[in-house]
């Protein structure tokens, strides 16, 4: 059992949750994740370890409640507990001092990006962080990321915060300007965003790392469900990744496999909606 010590709402459907998990807090490195199962009978899902405090023995998760499992997890109150949390899993991010780097985050990817930005800052990199969302309501962690970055640029699709458009806009400007061009780019977010970033940095040959989010079950390399095509090789994202060289990733294949259970997920989502509606009616 892993006790919930805090559960804050950062933005619509986005929670920051702190859990007691001393062994994981001690062992984890930036870029790693945990497999979480709320209770007996529930799904196992991967969530990035957003931050950790080895002294307090806690880890922080940023959870976007988008479907049945994530919604139930964020509903766990402070003092409540999560039955299973296993990790830290996946490879740690390869961190060095590149000098100038750009970190690009979209949606909940911004949360996954947070530990990377922190580790890159600690390694002495000069960081430009570009984060985006549909509107100001979906932009998260701006203050925290701002404190670690030399520049923080925000984009929103409706222009309600920062510049109007997508994260690729400011990134394109940086790349085009030899005085600002980054030596390395880290991109985490929806697959189309990561694909667009990879396409922008391929030509100028800028090292680009993406954190992939395929469907996972065990998270230990046992089931093969999380496989992604990277160059000529089939990789298991949970053990070989989740970070890969963006220029080699088959994003279309990844995005297609992510839709494997759309129908089943929609049914479960509707079922939890009904339950919530019934409880509200009562």
């Amino acid at each position: 059992m892993f006790e919930v010590v805090s559960n804050e709402i950062l933005a619509e459907n986005l929670h920051k949750m702190v859990l007691v998990a001393p062994r994981i807090a001690r062992a984890r490195k930036a870029g790693q994740f945990v497999m979480v199962r709320l209770a007996q009978g529930e799904e196992r899902i991967p969530l990035t370890i957003g931050d950790a405090d080895p002294e307090a023995g806690t880890i922080t998760l940023f959870i976007q409640a988008i479907g049945a499992s994530t919604r139930k997890i964020v509903d766990t109150p402070v003092g409540g507990s999560i039955r299973d949390v296993a990790g830290p899993l996946g490879k740690e991010t390869h961190i060095t001092n590149w000098g100038r780097v750009a970190c690009v985050g979209g949606g909940v990817g911004t949360a996954v990006l947070f530990p990377l930005v922190k580790a890159l800052a600690e390694a002495g990199n000069e960081i430009t962080t570009i984060i985006g969302g549909r509107s100001s309501r979906y932009v998260i962690l701006a203050d925290e990321l701002g404190a670690l970055s030399k520049n923080l640029l925000i984009t929103t699709e409706d222009g309600s915060l920062g510049s109007k458009g997508f994260v690729t806009g400011p990134l394109g400007e940086m790349i085009a300007d030899p005085a600002c061009a980054p030596k390395a780019v880290f991109a985490v977010g929806p697959v189309p965003m990561m694909k667009a970033v990879a396409n922008m940095t391929r030509e100028p040959g800028i090292e680009t790392i993406v954190s992939l989010n395929p469907i996972m079950i065990d998270g230990t390399g046992m089931c093969g469900g999380c496989r992604v095509q990277v160059g000529s090789e089939t990789k298991f994202a949970c053990v070989d990744g989740p970070e890969f060289d963006a220029h080699l990733v088959d994003f279309d294949g990844l995005s297609d496999r992510l839709t494997s259970y759309r129908k089943e997920e929609a049914q479960r989502h509707a079922a939890t909606d009904c339950k919530i509606a019934k409880e509200v009616a009562k």
């Binding site: 062994r23 049945a68 499992s69 296993a86 899993l89 089931c223 093969g224 469900g225 496999r257």
Partner: protein, 469 residues
């Protein structure tokens, strides 16, 4: 009941038939197919045993179960004694009685099998073990050991780890099992389906260990949460039994299409996560009318029979050799056929054909013929030119095998591995690191439950010796 039968009378008894659920009924649910012998059937079957002085059957059992002795007790209707004999040799008899490939082990060497049918040793073992589970009060009590003050870490809660933990606890050592998944049993839970091995049996075996003082910590991944060097410093000895959980890929076109599963994923979803077994299961699983399973082992049989139970109208085994070369237990092959599984033999997959929107539409195959024998003594399949054909399928499951998972070994550089990534251990299970032992599939590659248990037992004895040095 009297056990004073002449050899002639014993020879006259025919081998028992295991009562089974009817095939059309069971192919729609996950209930155990084999229902177990009745007391009368069990005693009569036990009386078929000739109590041979040569004890051929014992030589066929990898852990040397005292077969004639436990059968003799059963034939005399002395179940407490039968249970005691069995327990002394085999920590998980209710499991082995169900899943051992008896026809190639104990029963293969039974004298009665030379002319006619071997004694149904597996069925009898299961009968005694099930009786013991239901009659804990009838069992002969085992004395609690003196604590030795020594501690042992066991990595992995499969048959090898469970067996070693039990043996070590019996010696009075303090044992902690670390398991990566959220539940116990290893392949017994996530791999072998409920219709062959009810999960309740694993729960009961685990409860026995808990009562003996063994601590089980799930959600601890050795190599990630804690490392072997950490365990080495916190415990007096370590036993590694993390299995062979790494699926072998087919490396053919279309393997990443939607609807292509590795056997471990398919079985884990259904067995460990209850997908498709509970109406409101939170883990999804795909269901299609046509399911093609590639392989001929127990894993392939488990997948195809599971697919059938999830509603497949055509559940198919695609195997590149012929039925005689299939490594699966004969009983599984028989049950699969009764349940309407189609066997497409001498057929190898060459590609998976997609639909326009990225789903599986067919398995492209090639016909094979058997050529001369290869190193393994089995006749090598050779492709027949121009024999390609498409087998319509909505799901393709790859059940060709697994190998050593490097998650743990990658973080223990002092551990010597062979070229396939298996841990190198000596006869007694000792590895290249003093005080660190290993056994089961991580040493042998994919083997059997009883071999894994035998390793656990031998390693526990060696660890006990090491700790008393």
């Amino acid at each position: 009941m009297s056990n004073d039968l002449s050899p002639k009378e014993r020879m006259a008894i025919e081998r028992v038939h295991m009562p089974e659920l009817p095939a059309d009924e069971r192919s729609k649910n996950f209930e155990e197919v084999n229902q177990g012998l009745t007391p009368e059937q069990a005693v009569a079957e036990a009386q078929r045993c000739l109590q041979c002085k040569s004890r051929n059957c014992v030589a066929g059992c990898p852990v040397g179960v005292s077969i004639p002795e436990f059968i003799d007790a059963l034939a005399s209707d002395d179940l407490p004694r039968a249970a005691q004999v069995l327990r002394g040799d085999n920590a998980l008899p209710a499991v082995c009685g169900r899943v051992c490939p008896q026809e190639t082990q104990c029963e293969a060497l039974c004298v009665r099998g030379k002319k006619g049918d071997a004694v149904a040793i597996g069925y009898l073992e299961r009968y005694v073990a099930d009786w013991a589970m239901q009659h804990p009060e009838g069992l002969i009590a085992i004395e609690a050991p003196e604590p030795t003050g020594k501690s042992v870490a066991v990595v992995g809660c499969g048959p090898a780890g469970l067996t070693a933990a039990g043996e070590l606890a019996r010696q009075g050592h303090k044992v902690t099992i670390f398991e990566a998944l959220h539940d116990t049993g290893g392949v017994l839970r996530y791999g072998i389906p409920e219709f062959r091995l009810p999960k309740e049996i694993i729960d009961r075996e685990v409860a026995v260990l808990s009562r003996m003082g063994v601590t089980i910590e799930c959600n601890v991944i050795i190599g990630k949460t804690l490392t072997i060097p950490q365990l080495r410093s916190e415990f007096d000895a370590v036993f590694i039994a993390n299995g062979a959980g790494l699926p072998t890929m087919l490396n053919i076109m279309g393997e990443n299409l939607k609807g292509v599963y590795a056997a471990n994923e398919f079985l884990t979803r259904v067995n460990l996560m209850e997908a498709g077994r509970r109406a409101d299961s939170s883990t999804p699983i795909l269901q299609r009318d046509e399911v093609a399973v590639i392989g001929g082992g127990n894993t392939a049989m488990d997948c195809v029979r599971t697919a059938r139970r999830l509603g497949a109208k055509r559940a198919m085994i695609v195997y590149r050799r012929s039925e005689t070369e299939m490594p699966a237990r004969v009983e599984e092959i028989k049950h699969a056929k009764e349940e309407g599984v189609e066997f497409i033999m001498l057929t190898a997959p060459i590609a998976i054909v997609p639909t326009e929107d990225g789903w599986v539409s067919a398995l492209r195959c090639q016909k094979m013929e058997l050529g001369p024998a290869d190193d393994s003594g089995r006749r090598r399949p050779q492709a027949i030119e121009g024999s390609e054909f498409d087998l319509p399928a909505g799901i393709v499951i790859n059940a060709v095998g697994t190998s050593a998972n490097p998650l743990l070994t990658a973080t223990a550089p002092d551990l010597t591995l062979n070229k396939w990534g298996n841990i190198v251990a000596d006869e007694e299970g000792e590895t290249s690191i003093p005080g660190v032992f290993a056994g089961g599939d991580i040493v042998r590659g994919g083997a059997t439950v009883i071999l894994a248990m035998g390793d656990g037992k031998r390693a526990a004895a060696a660890i006990d010796k090491y700790l008393k040095r």
